[in-house]
Amino acid sequence: MLSIKNLHASVEGKEILKGINLEIKAGEVHAIMGPNGSGKSTLAQVLAGNDAFEVTSGSVTMHGEDLLEKATEERARDGVFLAFQYPVEIPGVSNLQFMRTSVNAMRHHRGESEMNAAEFMKMAREISKQVDLDPAFLKRGVNEGFSGGEKKRNEIMQALMLQPKLAILDETDSGLDIDALKVVSDGVNALRAEDRAILMVTHYQRLLDHIVPDFVHVLAEGKIVKSGGRELALELEERGYAWLGIKDDETAASSALSNSAN
């Protein structure tokens, strides 16, 4: 379904992704792990089409079509969904207006008629229950005044509503307490389907206890340095990134300190 070949990307002239190769088939769940600064979020943003990142070489195809030449909204309409690590707050646009506009943009793209307000509300109410959000939130501004956990649940709610082909989850577990983690994981597991792929980006192993991946990849300094099955995540948990010869934050920070001391 998704084929990433030798992908290089940079931001403000600094190369972050240095040749990513990854094949994802429909029905699979992949986890990308790695220390902070390894390029995990950049990969997620590049796939979704954030033009703050410049793709300098390589290719990405989805269902055989060149993904990189499509605008962000076209990728979304073709089924790419990014659950943001830090969803933005947009006061003045209600969640309801936002989601309905989004759902109808997708329907329009598929040549289906728009959903009317009543139909939409019915669907929105049901799904908001599934992620344990009070439907009253629909009237508030997009993510406005939401706690970190509510924002993450709102992302999953949108994924459930839009039923993407490729769901990319960027640090969806960060900032969640154990109950919220359960709600979010149940939501993601509900997304698992034969015709859908899920790509999870995470720093920690704990999410993978709830959403069991088919493949785990370790990203370091812009490259995938190791791939394996779910046991790879457990091994990382036990032995840390240093086991793979990767500097993690703490070692990087302390070496920077000793450099400046010299």
């Binding site: 605008a71 933005v88 947009i90 003045g92 646009v93 506009t101």
Partner: protein, 429 residues
């Protein structure tokens, strides 16, 4: 040697119509005499600094536009209607019931005694020095309208005043309205400025409100004239004890748009709420100057203005709050936020606070920015088109103020005009 300052052309001091009662003719003449040698604003005139270059009056525009035989657009309104055409009220095009406690009269229908009383009060809500062009309206009005609400009078529906100029030829119009809201009276007055025809015209309007104790007045003002209309308008308000004035000014840009809004809180416990939305595009201009005078103690003022400028347009906001020495326990809040939709657009904002009392709460804030890139990315990442995402975010900037407009039909009119604005502002997106 300094070059001689440019003066208001004497052509602008020839009023039309002699149908007014003697005291008002005398007032008009007196104001006209005072304006001989009036210097035209320049970039060095502080309160016209950003706008003087847009003011382009020619002698062809000086003559009063004809009023005879004009009926104007047959605009249906959900309420009572008073039609002004080229600055003069046209009874045949107006529709409102005969009410005992609310009097709506043309200046020309007043008795000499009533006219004399009115002549005393005209301009009393405005400061002639600060609002230079209000005096020109008094020197030129051809007729005018006085609306008097007796104590306790409540108008059950909004009163729409449709100010139309028919610009089939060059000329000018000087609509004048004086509203006297008696004790505990209530009224919602909607003023819509519109135009037809394509010739260059000048509109110089003044609307005054005096609110007696406990009066409650809502004024909605829509400025929607064409690209051939230069409009300088002023609204003056004085408020007595425990009265409330609420204003919603929505302005669409033009070659020159200037609105001065002055509110004097003269009685204890009076409050005013001033909302303003301005959108400009192409090479349009719009300038809002507001002044709130906290004269009496325990008064509240809340002011919220938003400007959106696209293309190479230019919006100006100058908001002054003046708290007088006796105005203890004043509570004043002013917020002005500005959105630039292109790099060629310009917005100038200047909050001015003058505080002479020590026990007051006074806050102000002004910001200028562009649409947030992250928010745009978030919206398009959900399949929403870039154009629609731009519209959603721009609308979000003024949603709150549009939603507060208390007459639904006006809200709809505003939304239709805003959609036209978005269509053009984001056509290349």
């Amino acid at each position: 040697m300094k070059p001689a300052p440019s003066l208001l052309s004497s052509a602008f001091l020839q009023p039309a119509g002699q149908a007014l009662p003697a005291p008002l003719l005398a007032l008009r003449k007196q104001r006209g005499a005072a304006l001989v040698d009036m210097p035209m604003p320049t970039r060095k005139t502080e309160n016209w600094k950003y706008s003087s270059k847009y003011l382009k009056l020619t002698d062809e525009m000086a003559v009063s536009l004809p009023t005879a035989g004009k009926t104007g657009s047959a605009l249906a309104v959900p309420g009572y209607k008073v039609a002004f055409i080229n600055g003069v009220m046209v009874p045949e095009a107006s529709e409102y019931p005969d009410l005992n406690d609310i009097l709506i009269q043309r200046f020309s229908d007043l008795s000499d005694a009533e006219a004399s009383e009115l002549a005393e009060r005209l301009d009393s809500t405005l400061d002639a020095k600060a609002v230079q062009f209000a005096g020109l309206n008094t020197a030129r009005f051809e007729d005018g309208l006085v609306i008097r609400l007796k104590p306790g009078a409540v108008l059950d529906q909004p009163l729409f005043i449709i100010h139309e100029v028919t610009a089939d030829a060059s000329g000018s119009a000087f609509p004048r309205i004086f509203v006297e809201a008696g004790r505990n009276s209530q009224v919602t007055l909607v003023e819509e400025f519109i135009s037809s025809g394509q010739e260059a015209v000048f509109v110089n309007s003044v609307t005054e409100f005096t609110l007696a104790e406990g009066a409650n007045v809502t004024n909605i003002r829509l400025s929607m004239g064409g690209e051939n209309v230069q409009h300088i308008g002023a609204t003056g308000v004085t408020q007595q004890r425990s009265s409330r004035f609420e204003s919603h000014c929505v302005g669409f840009g033009g070659p020159l748009r200037r609105h001065d809004l002055r509110v004097r809180l003269e009685g204890k416990g009076a409050e005013c709420k001033l909302n303003g939305v301005v959108v400009t595009q192409d090479t349009q201009h719009y300038d809002n100057h507001t002044t709130i005078e906290h004269v009496a103690p325990n008064c509240d003022s809340e002011e919220t203005y938003r400007n959106i400028a696209a293309d190479k347009s230019h919006a100006v906001f100058n908001g002054r709050i003046h708290i007088h020495p006796d105005a203890q326990k004043s509570n004043a809040n002013m917020s002005n936020k500005n959105l630039l939709l292109s790099t060629g657009a310009e917005i100038d904002t200047k909050p001015e606070l003058e505080i002479y009392a020590d026990d007051v709460k006074c806050a102000h804030g002004a910001t200028i920015g562009q649409l947030d890139k992250e928010s745009l990315f978030y919206l398009v990442s959900r399949g929403i088109g870039l154009r629609e995402a731009n519209v959603l975010l721009t609308m979000a900037f003024i949603n709150e103020l549009v939603a507060q407009i208390p007459v639904d039909a006006v809200k709809d009119t505003v939304q239709i005009r805003l959609n036209q604005f978005f269509d053009q502002a984001f056509q290349e997106v």
